[in-house]
Chain length 184, copies 2
């Protein structure tokens, strides 16, 4: 294949989420694309958050946070909380917060899927922090949940690519995992 | 919104990649969906790898690995290296390996995008290990690279959802990041 050497700072496709924290007795929200599951049992998730971000203060203070998955109809609000910092802008009223057992993990009511997480560990890297959280409660719009499966396509979850900074919808089903490979 | 409490073990949409390592002087490959960028500068990537996986041995031994992004035409081969373990199956001939500067990071020739990474740290979690690597070299099919941007849609990168175990294509462009939110 005709490959060329390119810049090391490549970005991979990212599922868009919104981090929810409490700081100074108010909710704050931030768009996050650097996110992945990292542990199977107990279920844990991790995010790469820039060290300068205001939301890190809330996580360090309360050891709790939420991760919310927006649908396409929340694209503008998601982008908004990714542009403006909570240092200068009060974003507490952008979404309606509800709470489960973790009182410092504001669950975004408008998002079809919300996870409340307990901080496990923060790994300090040069420009970012890896925030690892254990998923303690999950709330899903019941229209998108069947047989223990969340239908992200129907939910209209979306993705981000950089540096073209484009949001993308889910495409169509192209194969079956732990299955299609058996024909080789 | 009408949300219900569901099981904590939720999976979020995953960009499909293939980890490449060398073990016992041979290449080994493994499908990986738990992956994200984690540090901006220097560029780092992290993966959540089950502690039982054979590929971890290669990472620990050589402190190097590759991350490759397959196109849809490699879906079956990607799924294959996700099903069968290198403990029992020699997967060294599934792909053609080429090498950059890191001689233990086999770059999959058939994949349009390949990253060679130097191990930074392994974080031990109960069932998985977070493998953090610094991106040291990147090779991209030049048909998909323009103005420092990789066109993942044209490249036909794909996603995985679980537990329905479905692979998904990229959809269409639905918005502009760090831009659309300014109208709020």
């Amino acid at each position: 294949m005709d490959k060329i050497k390119i810049d090391n700072n490549v970005f991979i496709p990212m599922p868009m989420s919104i981090l929810g924290v409490r700081i100074n007795s108010k909710e704050n929200y931030m768009a996050v694309g650097w996110i992945s599951r990292v542990n199977a049992n107990p279920p844990m998730i991790a995010m790469g958050i820039g060290n300068h971000h205001f939301s890190l203060n809330g996580i360090k203070e309360n050891k709790e946070f939420s991760v919310n998955f927006p649908a396409e109809d929340l694209l503008i609000a998601t982008d908004y909380v990714g542009i403006y910092s909570g240092k200068k802008t009060d974003k507490s009223n952008v979404f309606k917060a509800t709470y489960g057992e973790l009182k410092n993990a504001p669950l975004i009511d408008e998002c079809p899927l919300s996870l409340s997480c307990k901080l496990v560990e923060i790994i300090n890297l040069p420009s970012n922090s890896i925030v690892i959280g254990e998923i303690r409660e999950v709330f899903c719009n019941k229209a998108y949940y069947e047989d223990k499966n969340i239908n992200f396509k129907a939910m209209k979850a979306f993705f981000l690519t950089m540096p073209d900074n484009k949001y993308w919808s889910f495409g169509h089903e192209i194969g079956k995992a732990w299955s299609d490979g058996k024909i080789l």
